[in-house]
Symmetry: D2
Subunit: 351 residues, 4 copies
């Protein structure tokens, strides 16, 4: 089969490799649609280490090709969505409700639930082996297209979880820092949960326009506006919730500064280097603040629920899928996505 | 001032009585808009006992006329919304987060937070005295009209709380039994919280049409359909949440029967006589079911939040305000509302 | 191997049957200690239907004898505790956090997590086959004896969950109806969670004495005292939480009547026939009451946590193990337990 | 009356000042017992700014001397405990359940609920004026002495809240950094909530001994042991919860490093200067970690609940009250407490 293989910093190549086989508890799917994630860019740029020779990618939609021993309730030919995170369901982390930190049968492993394109072969390929298949194959309702569901595997599950982990309540004011794909989904998630005023922050007009489309009532361009002052004015003293969706000290710090006392900072960004908490914004530790972080929730039930949300029209993510490439030309897709050309939001890859 | 006074079963009369004065901690507002609630009908029909001589009504919008000693942050002339429930904020129930069961400075009193038109004079009058005014006067943003906010005082706060108490999550399936004003707001509340499939049940075409407008994806007329079978089919085995908004054995029981194991029945109805739990639907007590009940949350912060929800366009309740009458003709309004004539949903009263 | 087999109403017999073998994802353990549960009595008396030919019992401690394909992290010879409920970890119910209603890979099945001695062979035998072994084998720390952990499999997990589902908070007042094994564990659970005043109710002096030992501050004999009046007096108006641990209309109703407004009734009993909610105790549905039910939580992580509780001396359940019998004489044990002779609380069976 | 007045850095003096009078909504109590808090030391040392002329202290037990207008349910002569934090119950923060950040009728104010000895006269005096008295006077049960309840006003409420905000569950492993008065109460709080293994960390033998008395199963002296390695060993990979009770970068960072993935850091310390989050311990923001902060919960219901906990013997804080001084000699008490002489834990002051 053809697959996009990582061979070291800035070296990826579509090549022919052996098609995987399903062992006990596993399944193989024929990938019909996948995407490129910001994390894949980090891998290709050598900023996140994975083993050379690995197939990358972690957002698969496909058709069941083979079912290993011990999998029930599925048939070859079923259309399925598989989350970016594939929990085992049977380890201490999973049984405690923290399946993104899945320990594969044992305890907890930080980021352990993220396996595709990280520790095992990923989705930018014609076929994909799915571990713990019983817990991870989510059948796609007939009325939903591949394009409608592919972004649920990662960015929507992550973005929505930023709103969920913050425990947004009806009537909350929410500010979302950065309106890339994850931030846009966090914006949509805040709206889904009943936030009243939603403020989207970015410095890119294209993304601010998309932010309104995904649910923001007000957008602020940080290049033009004193964001903190404006958020405090609009919210009457500080937001109930601030969601960080970029992963920098500046957005983290600004998010904290925008909160009212007892507010919640929900962090989705991937940080590098140390992070500082400005203690006065933190009320010296006495402000009843909460800082929560979340890794993309996975598993078939999460995927099923998110598909229901799309099925009943609560959210439409297809505007984010701005470009489509065949697997053969995935190199071009990486260039376009990496350099943010042509107003790209997300790129679909069709094997 | 003029006021609608209860004088015993089926005897209400608009008459001239003395205008109230604000004592310490109190305020008097000039009522600019109010409504008639189903509970008022029960009172007039003698089904819920209140003292003869009482002014009834509990959904007031108005302008501050007088502020008693000890109230700060308000001015005479401020437009305010006051919730149907007026918690003191300082008793055991309030300080425990159960302000609808407010004990007025002491412990808990069942329904103790409901005072207007129940234990003290109510809102169907030109002026209204508000107890614990510091906790109960919610300033109305300039851009919102009286009509946009008056239904927040009771039915929206109650209906939304049916969804909130059920702790609806993104992607839940929800069925709402009865699509009267409270049920319609529960439907809207379920949508606000991110439910995917929402099913509205009623036996009145007008209400089923309004149900779709308020957020239902599917409506079922119980006269035509086997509701339980259809809910199980649509939800793939049972709803995550069933909201009861009528107050009968039949709707309560049907709500329970529609749930999946570990589902939640959120009850908003007012029951009379004993209620039966069909034990097999309850899995003999081993189904991890929850049954929750909620009385309308009140207080100025609740009202502020709900006004934010309206202000940012998350919900529009004005379609429910189908008729308006002046206070003088409130008798006609009771007749129309009581007999459900002319497609009436809610009646506004303008003093 | 020897096993206690059910052959129809009032017919159980220890007989020789074939030793089980572990298939993929399964394990076989050599049972070293087990017990008889109240549910087993119901089965033997024909009150709860199971298939003739089934080995009954669901509280196993043992040593791993055989590991099927796909199980990792265990060795033959490991001492393990297995919960009465054996969730798969991979179905919709499990992935939603409701593993007691496990659907075995698919959706939800009421009581589906309870398989031992219900739908598959149980623990009153020399050997036991454990399904979904990866999720259900909990290694026993060396310093804990079989006797110290065997009651965690069912009654402690169930009893504690009565306190947990009620979300008991530091300082709550809690009343527990019925002080049999489950109720005693609910009493201990209430204490573990920081309840202040705990009131144990029963009509048996022996059990009331044990109730104090397990954490009750006050015990009431319902034969001598007006329980409701006394609970209201002791709690200053009603308990925050009432736990029902018997499964009768009377205890259910009394539990509800003992609550303050906004209180929680946590039900652990197994009911037969319909259950009635006295509407006035329920404040006609407007009292912000909650009724929650819970089936025994299982899985290896639950068992691990409960063993930690015992290991660090938070609770000692061995006083409840009043009698021990060899498997051969299990018939006598059933008689003793069924007729509550000799102050029996729980009977241990040693194969 | 006599009172301990702050006159600038290192200048406190017991002097005669005018006895306060109760206005509307207020009460005056005759103080019968109070204490010195670590925060008072910061004030006296000029590290936390308050206005010269202010009476300091915020942990009062006393007898009602005068009741202002509008207070009901109390009598002159009632013995009462008043929390360090005196919420109004009627502002946005209070009505949202965040009463420590009370805005006094309006929105949110960081630390706004802390008024005694901060923005209004405090408790180190013969008489104390209590604002929002209806919400803040907690009657003391006859069977409890002043000594048994005085530490509930601040340190126990704060320490327990460290456990509560972390949402400790039955069976959790908990590590508490620093075993001063707050940390010791956090240790007690963890035990109250059902933690299994509790590890207390400090570098003072006296405090480590007290840590065991308050509930720690294991104590570690950071001078002798690699705390992180030892915590990971004892907990099998990391603690479920780490409580920080000192307020330094080192303890904050160590607490974070001791957590398992998806663990919770509950911070009680008062920080100065910026705080750094070591990103690798934070799994680059992808570890599902939570960081929560809490200011001492106040109000009469909180005090009532904590007194119930003491009344039923769940915790005994009197061992922490190691010394007692009359108000006249409070200067000596500050010296002893400030320099940690004579094994002092907490000092009681008797006016």
């Amino acid at each position: 089969m053809k697959a996009n293989v990582f061979h070291g910093k800035n070296k990826i190549r579509v090549e022919e490799i052996e098609k995987p086989r399903a062992g006990a508890g596993e399944a193989v799917i024929r990938v019909t649609l996948t995407t490129i994630c910001g994390t894949d860019l980090h891998i290709v740029r050598g900023e996140y280490p994975v083993a050379p020779g690995l197939i990358i990618g972690h957002e698969p939609v496909g058709v069941i090709e083979e079912l290993g021993e011990g999998i029930s309730g599925y048939n070859v030919g079923d259309r399925v969505l598989v989350g970016a995170i594939t929990p085992c369901g049977q380890c201490r982390a999973c049984l405690s409700g923290h399946s993104a930190q899945c320990g594969h049968g044992e305890g907890y492993e930080a980021l352990g639930g993220w396996r595709f394109g990280n520790t095992i072969n990923g989705a930018q390929a014609e076929f994909l082996k799915v571990p713990n298949a019983q817990a991870n194959l989510a059948k796609i309702p007939d009325e939903l297209s591949d394009e409608q569901v592919v972004l649920l595997a990662d960015i929507a599950s992550t973005g929505f979880s930023g709103a969920e982990s913050a425990r947004i309540k009806i009537g909350d004011s929410v500010v979302v820092f950065a309106q890339g794909p994850i931030g846009l989904c966090a914006t949509a998630g805040a709206k889904l949960m009943g936030a009243a005023l939603i403020i989207g922050i970015d410095g890119d007009e294209n993304r601010l326009a998309m932010s309104k489309r995904m649910g923001a009532d007000v957008t602020l361009d940080y290049r033009d506006v004193d964001v903190m002052a404006e958020v405090k004015r609009l919210t009457g003293g500080g937001a109930d919730v601030a969601i960080e969706a970029l992963g920098t000290q500046q957005t983290f710090e600004s998010a904290l500064r925008c909160l009212r006392p007892a507010g919640t900072l929900s962090s989705l960004g991937v940080y590098s280097g140390k992070l500082e908490i400005p203690y006065e914004a933190f009320a010296a530790g006495l402000g009843d603040h909460r800082i929560v972080t979340t890794l993309c929730p996975g598993g078939k039930e999460r995927m099923r629920r998110l598909m229901e949300v799309v099925r009943y029209g609560r959210v439409d993510l297809t505007p984010l899928l701005t470009h489509t490439f065949p697997l053969d030309r995935i190199g071009e897709a990486y260039d376009l996505f990496g350099e943010r050309l042509d107003g790209v939001m997300k790129v679909a890859i069709r094997p």
